[in-house]
């Protein structure tokens, strides 16, 4: 029996492997996954937004704004550099430097010290001395905003001319010299009239409006305090009074939602691969079954092997296809991680954490294989009933929608960190159990639930083998007879022949 099952499985496997669509799928998925981040990086708008400040009051507001945004940027550089140093253990480069200390919210004093020490270039030079060869380079954050001088026609224009000039600047191409993304107008009576106008070519970001508002507020308060008799130094002291925030964060990738997401990457990817593999191999397997029926091959085959051997062989062939795709895709991922050493490997290491224990690996293998078998049996039964691909589609579409739609919702729920009632229900319904368990592995599934859902799935597969096996056997030689619901139910009964 085993020999015949392996023989059929081998033929099914070779048939699919000979299909161009198999190789296209096998190659396209890794290519798409590889191109995704590259394209995403390329498509990301890294150009800073151009800010034009028209200061009709003739004060220092514009300069103060520029300084504030420069501070914001340098603070971001410090934060990113600090995470980079912590991720790769590079504190030895300069233990006293602010970027080597990860327990605080960087203050203006930290930023000032950072600048005085030579800024990012000096920091990177120190890091380069202790950095291992395979440690990736630091990718500094791009500047969000850049300040440009107002076009001449805007500097003095008022009323409609000002509006027209602003419109021209906002609508101008990115490359045009008069282009601006944000225009800030400080009126001639500022600060007596504290109205400050802001034009933007889209909804302005909080990253701009927040600091702008804080800077102008501080400026107004400074003026108010000095006008009320406080010395400029005392006023500045009041303004700069702030708590020294001590911040404790988990290491990069190691905490909270980020950790959950990272830990869910591999389980989610497996659930996704299971879904993709089932859709594809199910379609290929159907083509093979329909060829056997349409080319009148079945009688010749059934004279040599039993219907059960044919069915199990087809299932095993489909499983081999699925595992091949899994191996190639995961292998490609591992190869990429190995080749790139750095960032991706660092991401994958915590991502692999939930699937490195023997128990987790056994769980993965069980639910992946059980999922493949549970759904593939349905495809095999459909293949035994349909005489043509179009007829098979009639059965296949509702089945696929019924299985895959809830799975897409499930995966979104897992990504959002949601383990509510829908996720629980899907875990216990056998056709969705493999997807739910695989996807949830990163979040952690209670052992009792894992064993219970696995047992329910195993029972479901056993029932499928009995009932769909009968349907398969009864349908094999019933060529040209499109079974109605009544006939299908009759075929589920034990064979009387």
């Amino acid at each position: 029996m085993i020999r015949n099952i392996l023989l059929v499985a081998g033929r099914e496997f070779r048939q699919v492997v000979q299909l161009k669509s198999f190789w296209l799928t096998l190659l396209l998925v890794p290519v798409a996954l590889a191109l995704g981040p590259i394209l995403g990086d390329k498509l990301e708008d890294r150009d800073p937004a151009k800010v034009v400040v028209i200061d009709r009051a003739g004060g220092t507001t514009r300069a103060v704004l520029e300084q504030r945004f420069a501070f914001e940027h340098d603070q971001q550089v410090l934060r990113d550099l600090s995470r980079y140093v912590r991720r790769h253990g590079l504190e030895a480069a300069d233990p006293q430097a602010a970027w080597a200390q990860h327990d605080r919210w960087y203050t203006p004093a930290d930023v000032l010290a950072f600048r005085q020490a030579g800024g990012i270039d000096a920091a990177l030079a120190k890091i380069a001395k202790v950095k291992a060869k395979d440690t990736p380079e630091f990718d500094p954050p791009s500047q969000d905003f850049t300040f440009v001088a107002p076009p001449p026609d805007l500097a003095t224009a008022d009323g409609e001319a000002l509006q027209a000039g602003v419109d021209r600047a906002l609508k101008a191409k990115d490359t045009a010299p008069e282009h601006a993304d944000l225009v800030v107008l400080i009126g001639p009576k500022y600060p007596a009239d504290p109205t400050v106008r802001l034009w933007a070519n889209e909804q302005p970001k909080q990253a701009f409006v927040g600091p702008l508002n804080e800077t102008l507020t501080a400026d107004l308060r400074q003026r108010l305090l000095t006008a009320n008799g406080l010395s400029p130094q005392s006023a500045a002291m009041v303004q700069s009074a702030a708590p020294a925030l001590s911040v404790t964060t988990p290491p990069p990738g190691g905490g909270g939602k980020e950790a959950l997401l990272v830990r869910s990457i591999v389980p989610l990817a497996l659930a996704y691969i299971l879904m993709m593999g089932l859709m594809l191999s199910g379609s290929w397997m159907l083509q093979g079954s329909i060829e056997e029926r349409s080319k009148k091959l079945l009688e010749s085959i059934l004279a040599c092997i039993t219907p059960e051997e044919l069915m199990y062989g087809k299932l095993l062939g489909a499983l081999a296809i699925g595992l091949s795709m899994l191996t190639v895709w995961l292998g490609t991922g591992a190869a990429v991680a190995f080749a790139t050493h750095g960032a991706i490997a660092d991401l994958i290491r915590p991502a692999l954490a939930p699937v490195t224990s023997p128990g987790a690996i056994a769980t993965l293998i069980f639910f992946f294989i059980a999922g493949y078998v549970a759904i593939s049996i349905i495809f095999v039964a459909i293949g035994a009933m349909a005489d043509s691909m179009s007829e098979a589609q009639g059965y296949l579409m509702p089945v696929l929608l019924g299985i895959l739609l809830p799975v897409t919702f499930l995966m979104q729920a897992i990504i959002a960190g949601n383990s509510g009632p829908m996720v629980q229900v899907l875990t216990w319904v056998p056709i969705w159990t493999p997807f739910a368990i695989l996807a949830r592995l990163g979040m952690g599934v209670p052992t009792l639930e894992l064993v219970g859902a696995g047992a329910v799935l195993a029972v479901f597969i056993a029932l499928e083998v009995i009932f769909l096996g009968r349907l398969f056997r009864a349908s094999l030689l019933a060529q040209g007879q499109k079974p109605g619901l009544k006939q299908m139910i009759e075929r589920l009964r034990p064979a009387t022949e």
Partner: protein
């Protein structure tokens, strides 16, 4: 020992009695014909012998045991509806079926190549089935049936759809297999093939056996006819059941079509004519053909091509 023995075999599909109390046996080296019209139960019987479907009652013995896939190594089967995997090469298809019949891959491949060369397809061994003509594919299909050198070769309407060249090839293979000691069972509704090939035949009608025996025994089921040119006195010769004058040739001579009484030999009639001094210008015996017997027993007429409508 019989290669195939069937006793009181009955198969019922719901309200339809497809095979009714059928018994027969086939010996090694024998070519056994299964003759019957549409719905006679030929294919159903062969499927039961192959264990593709199970009988309602009765007993089947194949190579000394119950029908089972464990016998596949000794059984060759060519179904009525034929086809192969289009993407497979000829030799791969033959090897695949050989392996399903428990052959080692190397043996199946070697014998497959031998068969392809014998069928003049040696240079197309690696061609895909989908790239072959229908006639070539039919030869490959035949090779898949006999690659395991079967002791029992079952052919369901094997000549259906074959061109004359492939029909001759198949006839040669059937005769060759029988000479090699295999029992060959084939169903057909082409009487010429049965007459040429079969040692014994079985006539089925609505699942029930109507006749089993040799071709000669089958032809004896109907009385022989004699074409004679003689004077009117021939009508009184003993053993002649009816004399139908078909033409008046003048001068007292007529052309007759004579029917004999059952069991009467034409030679005896000729002797009686001579003994009684009846002159004869022509006396030609026409035995009943298998076609006549088929129509008489089964009740369906062959179509114009010599084949019964299916």
């Amino acid at each position: 020992m019989s290669v195939l023995k069937v006793e009181a075999l009955t198969k019922r599909f719901a309200d339809v009695l497809a095979v009714d109390d059928l018994s027969f046996s086939v010996e090694p080296g024998e070519i056994y014909g299964f003759l019957g019209g549409n719905g006679a139960g030929k294919t159903t019987t062969l499927r039961m012998v192959l264990d593709i479907i199970r009988p309602t009652s009765g007993r089947i013995e194949v190579l000394g045991g119950a029908p089972d896939r464990r016998n596949t190594a000794a059984i060759g089967f060519l179904p009525e509806e034929r086809g192969l995997y289009g993407n497979m090469s000829a030799i791969d298809a033959i090897t695949y079926f050989g392996r399903m019949k428990q052959m080692a891959a190397s043996d199946a491949k070697a014998h497959g190549m031998e068969l392809l060369k014998r069928f003049d397809l040696g240079d197309r061994a690696k061609a895909k089935i989908s790239e072959m003509s229908k006639g070539m594919a039919q030869k490959v299909q035949l090779a898949t049936a006999i690659v395991n050198r079967p002791r029992l070769l079952i052919l369901d309407e094997p000549f259906s759809g074959l061109d004359p060249v492939n029909q001759q090839l198949l006839e040669d293979e059937i005769v060759g297999a029988a000479k090699g000691g295999a029992a060959v069972v084939f169903s057909t509704h082409v009487m010429q093939h049965a007459e040429r090939l079969c040692d014994r035949i079985l006539l089925l009608r609505k699942g029930k056996k109507r006749f089993e025996g040799t071709i000669d025994e089958a032809r004896d089921q109907l009385p022989a006819r004699i074409d004679a040119v003689a004077p009117a006195g021939i009508t009184g010769i003993e053993g002649i059941a009816a004399a139908n004058a078909t033409a008046d040739l003048g001068n007292g001579w007529s052309e007759y079509s004579l029917s004999l009484d059952p069991g009467v030999d034409a030679g005896d009639v000729l002797q009686r004519c001579t003994a009684s001094g009846l002159p004869l210008r022509r006396f030609e015996e026409r035995r009943a053909t298998l076609h006549d017997v088929f129509v008489h027993l089964v009740g369906s007429a062959p179509d114009s091509s010599g084949e019964l409508a299916r």
